[in-house]
Structure formats: structure tokens, C-alpha cells
């Protein structure tokens, strides 16, 4: 039981970085960006290729993946702001282009990382006294660091302008902000984080697969929405924290569906159904609690 929760938490943080990326586009910029389904794989592809062919440092691979994701996001942003393609379509086009690009980067649809030194290997060796939680500590630390940097960024003059771009574009234009550049920047930042998450997940899983990005947007949104319904705050620090909480809940849901689904009569083929049901429960709890409180209050 304990080890299962540790693993779920590891995944919650690793995928949480992608959820933070989705948060930036959906909540901050209010831009429905579908690029992420492609850029997640781009990160995984870049990192795996670098690790297998050049044996680069696993942490450096994360940084390179971040950069590649930024480029992918910027392309979507430029398609939208400079060529006037609608937001959804710009994201879809990038996502489709990335499929081919990812295959080119990888050279084949699946790269095994079993025989190269990955981040997990480095961490487990360096922090062996910590035992089973070594990887969790590093993943949590890394994700929290990113969260704190984002929080600080969103409180700077520049970060504030980015938030206002999503909140009231007409208003922030009249405050002298070039919202087109802001959108390109925001999309780049978002997809950089998503790609970094992909690179992390590939190293954690021991492989990169060209199909691993499908549904990044869905799980990312699930984390954003679940977290947002549990922690309702407009303060940026709480908002990013809620995204990570949402991501943890989602990964715990997957683990619970796998582990205890059979207790309520579910079988292997019901995995996605059970996962979604657990997420629905998490979503509904705050509403039910509110309703109960109201009932108590009125009595």
C-alpha cells in the first residue's frame, strides 16, 4: 500500500509539471492549446535520443527538452498571432506536425531507456540512504521548485502583464502591452514545461513512445479542474499548488482503479472508466460539502 502511494505521488509530480503547463494556457492565457499532446512526446523524444545516442546528463536532457517544447509552443503562438489562425486550429496543426517531427527525432516509434543511465538511476544511486522515497523526494523537490519559480514570475511586472493578457486583453493593450508577444511567450513557457514533463516521464518509465502524448491535454485539464475545485483561490501560489494537488489526485485515482477496482467488480478493461469515476468523486466532494453546509446553515 505504502509503496503504491509513493509511486502514485512520483507520477503525480512528474505529470504535474505538464499540468502546470496546461494551467498556464487554459487558466492564465485562456487559450485552448492542443499543442501539448505533441510537445509532451517531443520532450520524451529529445531526452531519450540524447540519453541513448550521446549519453548526456539526465538533468541536462530535461533542460534541452524544455527548450524544444518552448519552440513548439512558440510556433503555435506565431501561427495564431501572426498568421491569424484560430487558437484551436493553431494548436491542432502544431500537434499534427509534431507527430512527424517526434518520429524523426526518435528514428523509431519506441526508444528503450533500460540500458542507459536515466534520472531515476542517478537519483537512486546518489540518494541511496533515502531508500524508497529518494526518487519521490527529487521529483517533488523539482516540481516544487518549478512551482515556486512560476509563482515568483507571475508576480513580476512581466508576469502580471501575461496574466492580464488572459484576463482582459483589450484592457492590457491600453496599458501598453503587446498581447501578441505575450501569447507567444505564454505558449512557449507552457509547452516547455509540458515537454520537460515528457522528458521526466520517459526517464521514469524507461522508455519513450510516440503514442505517449495522446491525452496529455485531458489529464492536464483534469488536474487543473480537480485541483481548482478543491482549492478555490485567486492567489497565484494557491492556484499552482492546486494544479499539483489535482495531478496527485489523478495519479492516485489511476493507482486505486488498478489496485482496488476489482473489489467493486471492475475488470481490467474498465480502467479508464474507474479512473474517471474517481476523478468525478473528487470533483463532486466540494459541491456536496457546500450543499451540506448550506443545509445545516438554513436549519
Amino acid at each position: 500500500m505504502g509503496s503504491i502511494l509513493i509511486h502514485a505521488a512520483e507520477q503525480g509530480f512528474a505529470y504535474g509539471i505538464a499540468a502546470l503547463g496546461v494551467f498556464i494556457t487554459f487558466r492564465i492565457l485562456r487559450f485552448p492549446d492542443l499543442t501539448v499532446d505533441g510537445s509532451f512526446v517531443t520532450g520524451a523524444a529529445i531526452a531519450s535520443s540524447l540519453l541513448t545516442s550521446m549519453g548526456v546528463d539526465p538533468f541536462l536532457a530535461l533542460a534541452v527538452a524544455f527548450g524544444a517544447g518552448c519552440v513548439a509552443g512558440a510556433v503555435t503562438g506565431l501561427l495564431h498571432t501572426r498568421l491569424g489562425i484560430t487558437d484551436l486550429l493553431a494548436g491542432v496543426l502544431s500537434m499534427i506536425m509534431l507527430y512527424s517531427i517526434n518520429l524523426r527525432i526518435m528514428g523509431k516509434p519506441n526508444i528503450s531507456l533500460l540500458r542507459v543511465t536515466t534520472l531515476s538511476d542517478v537519483v537512486e544511486k546518489a540518494l541511496s540512504p533515502l531508500g524508497a522515497v529518494a526518487l519521490l523526494v527529487v521529483l517533488a523537490g523539482l516540481t516544487f521548485l518549478i512551482k515556486l519559480v512560476l509563482d515568483a514570475f507571475f508576480r513580476t511586472e512581466f508576469g502580471l502583464a501575461l496574466r492580464a493578457t488572459g484576463d482582459n486583453e483589450a484592457m492590457i493593450v491600453s496599458q501598453g502591452v503587446n498581447t501578441k508577444s505575450m501569447k507567444v511567450f505564454g505558449l512557449a513557457l507552457s509547452n516547455g514545461l509540458v515537454a520537460m514533463s515528457g522528458a521526466l516521464v520517459a526517464q521514469y518509465s524507461g522508455f519513450a513512445d510516440v503514442g505517449m502524448g495522446v491525452g496529455t491535454i485531458v489529464t492536464g485539464l483534469a488536474a487543473v479542474i480537480v485541483g481548482g475545485s478543491l482549492i478555490r483561490s485567486r492567489r497565484i501560489g494557491w492556484m499552482t499548488a492546486s494544479v499539483l494537488v489535482g495531478s496527485l489526485i489523478y495519479r492516485v485515482a489511476v493507482m486505486f482503479a488498478l489496485r482496488y477496482g476489482y473489489l467493486i467488480g471492475f475488470q481490467a478493461s474498465d480502467l479508464k472508466l474507474v479512473t474517471s469515476l474517481i476523478v468525478i468523486v473528487a470533483l463532486v466532494i466540494p459541491t456536496v460539502r457546500e450543499r451540506l453546509m448550506r443545509k445545516v446553515g438554513s436549519c
Binding site: 516509434p109 519506441n110 528503450s112 518509465s205 513512445d209 488498478l258
Partner: protein, 334 residues
């Protein structure tokens, strides 16, 4: 031969009884990447092999079945869950599933048996498929199909075949690999390979149409994307009046002229046999990777008639199944 198998079965039965004598049932985790007729048959074959050897489900052995439902991101949690449930052995069906199982079970001493993996060496699952001594706690069965054999069949069907069109999805590991093999094997048989890419099922019709008139035969390997839109390839082949060979026997009735391939139930039996060897005390690194052989040949006479093609007698003699008059006829060869 028959006696040998019977002897093996009896031997395994004894081992099985010895194992069951220990009390609690052994736990085996079986996971697959997605629900799919071939992979489901694979899973059934594994279980049936163990049942036939005397492992009664619920009494001697307990199976934990899992499917990633098509999402590679689920493969790691599935393997971790197996580990938490204390399985004594893992069977992983498909390449991503096997990679995840090996990653999670590394250093735990729990053997991993893979199944339906096209190229276990390239995937990094094992170091060497023949000399297993250097391999880790991993072995299994490969379903690498005999691409050169399939191309030779097309040549046997009609000597005038020179250009073979392959519709495939480069995003599918197996398919991409098999297409590369076909390109390499073609020239030796006097064939050139023309590729058409379909990244989703929706793009299969266009890809197939693009080959009409440019090829003398169609060939589709074990490509899930193309198989789900197989009608489009059949239509294109018939439009061009050229034969179509499909490396998936279950699709024969849909209308390819020729189908070859493995019976995935038998593939599962082979994986089950490896599981039995391990349960009998062998270490995975004492068991070389098994490459399934003996691809079946299935002929569709109805489809051949539509393009005015007659099968040579040599092929009909070797066919396991024949589709004729709207129904399948199986040969009881063995």
C-alpha cells in the same frame, strides 16, 4: 514428437503438483497494452497453457489481468501495482508493456516474460536472443513475422509482381520495423517496395489510393492502424486488380487475397510454455528468446476471383484455411 510433448506435460504436471503442495496459489500478473483480438487470444493462450499443465485457476494459480487501454502512460502504474501485489512472475504483452515491466521489476528477482514483442533486442529487453546467459531476469516470445517469406509468397503467386506497395503507420513500433525489413529483403527477391504512410485510420484510404497503378501487389504487416481501416486497402487493391497479402489471418474474410501470420493463441501457448519452464525452476537467462515459426497461409478464393487470379497448386496445398463461397474452410492438416 507427440510422446515428447506428453512426457513434458506429465513432467510439468508433477512440478505443478509439487508447487501447489506449498499451499497458497502463486500470483501471476498478465498485462497488455490494449484490448485487441490478437492480444486477447495471446492472453488466453498463456492461461490455457498453464491450465493444461495442471495449474488450476483459483487453487494453484491466481491471475491478475491488466490492460493499459491503449495509453502507454498506464503501463508503469500497472507494473508497479503488480509489484505491490507481490506477483511471482509477470507476463507482459507488447513492447511498451514489457519495457515498463522490466523497468519496475529490475532488481526484484521477479521474472518477466514478454510476449508479442517484435524485436526484443532492439527494444533493449534482452542483450542477445540466442545466447541468453547474459540476459537479465527476462525472456519471452517474439512475433517477428517472416517478411521475406511473405514477399516470396507474392512472387510465387505471380511471377510478374515487381513492385509491392506497403501501407503502414510509422508510429507503430512493429509496423515500422517490419517495413524496414521488407525494404531490405525486397531487392533479393527481385521486388521493390513502395511505401505509403497513414498516421491514423482515417488517412488509410488516401494512402492506399495513392498506390493504385504504381504497384503490382499490396502488402500490409501487423499494423493496427491499417488493420482497422483494412477495407480501404482491399478496395484499392481490387481497383488496381492486384493481389493483396495481409499478415493477419483473422482479417481474411474481409477480402485480402492472401493472409499469412501467426495464430496468437498459439503464440500465447509458447509464452505459457516459458512460464512453465520458469515455474519448474529454470532461470530466465537459461531460456533463449523464442521466435514463433510456422506462419499459416490462408487463401481467399472469392477475392482472387474478383481480380481474375488463380492460385498455384503449390500454394493451395500449403494453405491452412481457405475462404470460399462466403465462408471459411479450415484444413485439418494436423
Amino acid at each position: 514428437m507427440k510422446r515428447g510433448i506428453a512426457g513434458l506435460a506429465v513432467g510439468l504436471l508433477i512440478v505443478a503438483i509439487a508447487v501447489t503442495g506449498l499451499g497458497a496459489p502463486i500470483r501471476i500478473g498478465i498485462c497488455k497494452i490494449v484490448e485487441h483480438p490478437a492480444l486477447d487470444a495471446n492472453e488466453r493462450g498463456i492461461i490455457d497453457a498453464l491450465t493444461a499443465a495442471g495449474y488450476v485457476e483459483g487453487k494453484d494459480v491466481e491471475y491478475i489481468l491488466a490492460s493499459a487501454q491503449g495509453d502507454p502512460n498506464n503501463s508503469i502504474p500497472i507494473a508497479q501495482n503488480f509489484l505491490a501485489k507481490g506477483v511471482t512472475l509477470v507476463v507482459a504483452i507488447s513492447t511498451p508493456m514489457a519495457l515498463a515491466a522490466v523497468e519496475v521489476f529490475e532488481g526484484t528477482g521477479v521474472p518477466v516474460v514478454f510476449s508479442a514483442v517484435t524485436d526484443p533486442v532492439a527494444a533493449g529487453l534482452v542483450l542477445d536472443d540466442d545466447d541468453s546467459s547474459q540476459n537479465g531476469n527476462v525472456t519471452g516470445v517474439s512475433d517477428l513475422i517472416d517478411v521475406a517469406g511473405d514477399l516470396a509468397l507474392l512472387k510465387e503467386l505471380s511471377a510478374s509482381v515487381r513492385r509491392v506497395g506497403i501501407v503502414y503507420n510509422p508510429g507503430e513500433a512493429n509496423s515500422a520495423r517490419l517495413t524496414t525489413i521488407a525494404e531490405a529483403a525486397g531487392p533479393g527477391l527481385g521486388l521493390s517496395v513502395v511505401k505509403a504512410v497513414a498516421d491514423t485510420s482515417a488517412n488509410v484510404p488516401a494512402a492506399a489510393q495513392s498506390l493504385v497503378g504504381r504497384v503490382d501487389a499490396f502488402y500490409v504487416t501487423t499494423d493496427n492502424t491499417v488493420v482497422s481501416a483494412i477495407d480501404a486497402v482491399i478496395a484499392a487493391a481490387e481497383e488496381g486488380s492486384v493481389p493483396f497479402l495481409m499478415a493477419d489471418p483473422t482479417s481474411l474474410r474481409f477480402g485480402p487475397v492472401l493472409a499469412t501470420g501467426f495464430d496468437y493463441y498459439k503464440h500465447g501457448l509458447l509464452a505459457g510454455d516459458i512460464v512453465l519452464q520458469i515455474l519448474a525452476g529454470k532461470k530466465p537467462n537459461q531460456i533463449p528468446v523464442v521466435y514463433q515459426t510456422g506462419a499459416e497461409i490462408h487463401l481467399n478464393l472469392d477475392a482472387a476471383a474478383r481480380i481474375g487470379l488463380e492460385f498455384p497448386a503449390s500454394l493451395i496445398d500449403r494453405a491452412t484455411g481457405i475462404f470460399f463461397g462466403g465462408a471459411s474452410w479450415l484444413r485439418s492438416g494436423d
